[in-house]
């Protein structure tokens, strides 16, 4: 079997086509599912990051609250804030707050008197805020602790606001402020593998883990605020996902932008695709080889049949059958067709010869029947005359000879009758008759037929 055999070529092409189709279908479905899964993973990752940031901010806030609560209990803060008349009071407050700042990780500390005037701020170079607009100060003067968030100095600022007591009276307010810095976002970014940026409602960057965070889609920010749900943007070319999360930090809404890259995942996907392609190719080649050998195994009896048919045809006609088809099955069909044709011709010839032989046989039978019939007439005459001679002759020697002639003539007549029976048999007109006969007479008749020859050879016959 050669590869140029059309069946083999068709099989190879069919297997290759099926392999290509199945590979394409599998790749299409798998890639689409994986693509969606990767995007979903990016979205979930971004969501997890936003939760992580919210938790981190909550932890920072707790830290600010602890610092504020520890500071308000420092000795003499309440007394100095209550009196606040002499420079000594101010310097004492300054000393307490500066010392507390050094001992903590908050960004600043503020002391406000009972008239909501700023007594001291540790970072005096910072732009002053209007105390009246700062939520929590009035409430603290009423004895309530509170927390708030706001944008100060271009950064998200957390404030833990505590009332300051002196002699069981609220005499002022202490605020511990903590800013969400780019370093904090960089820390999360480094640990979670995504770039983060915190934006204000106006689209200003409050903190970012990368300098490239400034380029944002204001429409997406507005949509995130307006729709109150995350806005997802997928860069299908660079396999990057950007999610705009509306987040609430204590009492103000902001947008957290999370940039994550799926390049590595897509690279792994591409590598997996390459491996899958190679495996699919290997399977296709293996399938073709198995298919070809399997075909060869299936067609082996056919090849033997073809060889036998070719041999029979050659023996019948002395010539080979010309092969017109190049395929194995086609060539077998070709040979069998040729053999059938030749056998048909031969059968016709034999039939014709048979008919001629039949005719000849019938003519021969007719001739024999006629001859037998014609011979019976003289035989009857011989038998009749012999009988007449025997009746008027008293010579025992002649009587014996006439008797033998009569027996021989009757036997010959019987033979003629048998020949006539043979003709009837040829003509399928023979009928058997059941008649009584004398065995002794038959035996004597046989003796008379063969005794002469037996005597000539000095043989003696005994019939019991």
């Amino acid at each position: 079997m050669k590869l140029k055999n059309p069946i083999t070529v068709a099989l190879v092409l069919l297997i290759a086509l099926l392999a290509v189709l199945s590979y394409w279908a599998t790749s299409w479905v798998t890639n689409d599912s994986l693509h969606q899964a990767l995007i979903k993973r990016e979205e979930e990752k971004a969501h997890a990051i936003s939760l992580a940031l919210e938790n981190l901010i909550a932890a920072q806030n707790t830290q600010a609250q602890i610092t504020a609560r520890l500071t308000v209990h420092r000795h003499s803060l309440g007394r100095n804030l209550d009196q606040l008349k002499t420079p000594d009071n101010f310097s004492a407050i300054r000393e307490i707050l500066d010392g507390a700042l050094l001992d903590s990780s908050v960004t600043f500390l503020e002391a406000i008197d009972k008239h909501e005037n700023m007594a001291y701020r540790t970072n005096e170079k910072d732009e002053p805020i209007q105390v009246a607009s700062n939520w929590g100060a009035f409430e603290a003067l009423s004895g309530a602790s509170s927390i708030s968030s706001s944008v100060e100095m271009g950064q998200l600022t957390l404030r833990a606001i505590e009332p300051v007591y002196h002699q069981d009276k609220v005499v002022g307010v202490l605020t511990a402020g903590l800013r969400i810095t780019p370093e904090l976002l960089k820390l999360i970014s480094k640990n979670l593998g995504a770039e983060l940026a915190l934006f204000s409602r106006e689209g200003k960057v409050l903190a970012a883990s990368t300098s490239s965070a400034g380029v944002v889609d204001m429409r997406a920010i507005n949509e995130a605020f307006a729709q109150k749900i995350p806005v997802y943007q997928h860069d299908e070319i660079h396999h990057k996902t950007r999610v705009y999360f509306p987040i609430m930090v204590i009492d103000n809404a902001y947008v957290l932008v999370v940039d994550s890259s799926s390049e590595l995942a897509f690279l792994q996907l591409a590598q997996a695709n390459q491996r899958a392609t190679l495996i699919a190719l290997g399977i296709a080649v293996l399938s073709i080889l198995i298919g070809v050998f399997f075909l060869r195994w299936i067609l082996r009896p056919l090849a033997k049949l073809r060889a036998r048919a070719e041999k029979t045809a050659f023996e019948l006609t002395g010539s080979e059958i010309p092969i017109e088809s190049s395929s194995e099955i086609g060539s077998v069909v070709n040979v069998l067709d040729g053999l059938t044709e030749r056998l048909t011709i031969r059968n016709a010839e034999l039939s014709k010869a048979g008919n001629l032989a039949e005719i000849a046989n019938r003519s021969k039978s007719q001739f024999i029947a006629n001859m037998s019939h014609e011979l019976r007439t003289p035989m009857n005459a011989i038998i009749g005359l012999t009988h007449m001679l025997g009746r008027n002759n008293n010579d025992p020697g002649q009587q014996d000879k006439l008797g033998k002639i009569s027996h021989a003539a009757n036997h010959l007549l019987q033979l003629l009758n048998d020949i006539l029976d043979l003709s009837k048999m040829d003509a399928e007109q023979m009928t058997l008759e059941s008649t009584q006969f004398t065995l002794g007479a038959l035996m004597r008749h046989l003796e008379s037929l063969v005794s002469g020859k037996a005597e000539g050879k000095n043989l003696k016959l005994f019939f019991g």
Binding site: A132, E139, S142, R201, K228, I229, M248, D251, A253
Partner: protein
């Protein structure tokens, strides 16, 4: 042959019979009807044991629409009727009730009523202290909602020249609004009446232009600020639990719960 038919019937029967499967139905979405639907869900869950309805914290109406549209749930909460664009997604809105949009003040405020002008003045930052409204000396901590919020839309529709000052803390979910109302005793906000039940402190309702936001005043049209809320689902996507829950809301028991929370029942259509 009859045996074969019986066997086929036995095999195919489960495909045609719809047994009452138990279902946990999560209804996400708008924060406006969250509280009253939560009360209804508790009553529904107590009344029957086949289904369980869960009313999770607000994800906003957009969140509810997204969840229903993307098939994460079969029923969502809506703080307003759907827009044409939202209906084009194949979503169906079924109205449940109408209720007053009320001006509220934190537990530390003793002002009983305000006028429309004063409401505009508070939001625009012209009125900053309760003493200007006859109350105690205390700053007004104004809390607002996003411009797309159903209540904010209702406000803007009623008061064309309403502008929010920078001092207004704008929150995007009702949960945060209620949290701030509880945290700041001198706060001020506008919200739907039934959501007041979620407040932990004694947040007070202020009469608007001398009219109390009662069901009677909503019904006779004398109270100006009214909003409608309902449920959303995909066409043909209402589950047995969803249908049972809606039927319960529309039952006399559901109407009673609605009325006790200041909601006027609105029948579909």
């Amino acid at each position: 042959m009859p045996t074969l038919k019986f066997f086929a019937l036995f095999v195919l029967l489960p495909f045609f019979v719809q047994p009452a499967f138990s279902e946990e139905l999560v209804v996400p979405g708008s924060g406006n009807p969250e509280y009253v639907l939560g009360v209804l869900a508790n009553a529904f869950n107590a009344r029957q044991s086949i289904h369980r309805v869960v009313i999770p914290p607000s994800t906003g109406m957009a969140g509810g629409i997204r969840d229903v549209d993307e098939g994460r749930t079969t029923l969502g909460r809506a703080g307003r009727p759907l827009t044409e664009a939202e209906l084009a997604k194949g979503l169906i809105y079924t109205p449940l009730g109408r209720e007053a949009v009320v001006a509220v003040a934190g537990a530390g405020v003793d002002v009983p009523a305000i006028s429309s002008e004063q409401l505009i003045g508070i939001f625009s930052g012209k009125i900053t202290n309760w003493s200007s409204l006859g109350g105690k000396q205390a700053p007004i901590r104004v809390i607002g909602k996003e411009s797309t919020d159903a209540i904010r839309r209702q406000l803007s529709k009623q008061f064309k020249d309403l502008v929010f000052a920078d001092s207004v803390k704008v929150v995007h979910l009702d949960t945060y609004l209620i949290e701030l109302l509880d945290r700041y005793p001198t706060s001020f906000a506008v919200m739907n009446l039934s959501a007041l039940g979620a407040c932990k402190t004694k947040v007070g309702v202020l009469a608007l232009d001398g009219i109390q936001p009662s069901i009677e005043n909503i019904a006779n049209g004398s109270y100006p600020l009214v909003m409608e809320f309902g449920l959303i689902y995909k066409s043909g996507g209402l589950s047995p639990a969803g249908k049972a829950f809606i039927d319960f809301i529309r039952s006399p028991e559901g109407a009673r719960i609605f009325r006790s929370h200041g909601v006027l029942v609105k029948n579909n259509g």
